[in-house]
Symmetry: C2
Subunit: 179 residues, 2 copies
């Protein structure tokens, strides 16, 4: 049975990026000596599912950060896959359910689901097992929200919370049954 897992940072007002996608406000927290558990989280995943925006942002960096397989959800890129895509990256225009079913057949058990729009669609389809949300002590006032519309109230279970000297507060929530 495959399950989706989220590890993401948000501002205190719930944004994962500024309106233009800028992550500058995260910078003070990514360079410190604190271990927020990201490496351990990723090491426990069979691969990553992300959207085109995340993919293209990562490609602008010099180093591709993943040595696990990465699935990029994009109608456009699935029709015209970039020739310079890193090894282990593939592109699909499938639905969240179809993608997860395919990955399960391929032997995946735990998928790292990343990016606001992608997380929202996987949540709506009941494909997220748990979320580790790291709250950054800043109010941005505007931006790209982590969460979006739902067709129902979704109760989650608090598993644990820890805070860091930097002011980050990290909570883990179990979402319940995955598809």
């Amino acid at each position: 049975m495959i399950s989706g897992h989220v590890f993401i940072a948000t501002s205190l007002d719930g944004y994962i990026a500024r309106p233009d996608g800028d992550l500058d406000w995260l910078q003070p927290y990514s360079e410190g000596e604190e271990d927020h558990g990201y490496e351990a989280f990723v090491a426990n995943m069979d691969g990553v599912i992300m959207g085109r925006g995340s993919y293209e942002k990562l490609r602008q960096m010099n180093l591709w950060p993943y040595d696990v397989p990465v699935v990029v959800m994009s109608r456009q890129l699935s029709k015209h896959p970039p020739e310079d895509a890193p090894d282990g990256v593939w592109f699909t225009d499938g639905s969240p359910r179809a993608i997860m079913a395919g990955l399960e057949r391929g032997g995946w058990r735990r998928a790292y689901v990343d990016g606001g729009q992608i997380i929202q669609s996987f949540l709506r389809d009941g494909l997220i097992a748990d979320m580790i949300i790291t709250r950054v002590p800043v109010l941005l006032g505007a931006g790209r929200p982590l969460f979006g519309a739902l067709d129902r109230t979704l109760r989650v279970s608090h598993v644990e919370t820890r805070s860091f000297p930097s002011g980050l507060v990290q909570s883990r929530y179990a979402v319940g049954q995955t598809a």
Copy 2:
């Protein structure tokens, strides 16, 4: 020197009420035996500042919950104060800064600032000293947001976080200089 203080619960997706103002999702947490510190917080305040919406919602209840003075910010109600207003309630169409200055002259030192719109305007004017935010483990998908637009990025300082068996996670943030 007077300062504004916030004590409020939000859903995991940042809403303080459903779109119609309903607080049903808070009910499971308000009746338990957990002490979330609200009584102690209010006991430490000289009074409350709220908007018309909060006032009218409270008036629909049988018992007026406050024995401290309450300032209701409402242009409409300040022109036509309700004759049945509880003792110790007054109405004003003043600005946040003017209200706080007036209350300071009146001897207030700590004001409980309540309600989404009111909190947002006091934050914009630098009138909030700290916020105790209690995160409820539920995604509503829509509602009235706690936070709103700001004209700048506002860094806050994490003071402490505690979690409760019910799944509530309560963090206290210092906002910095008040006006």
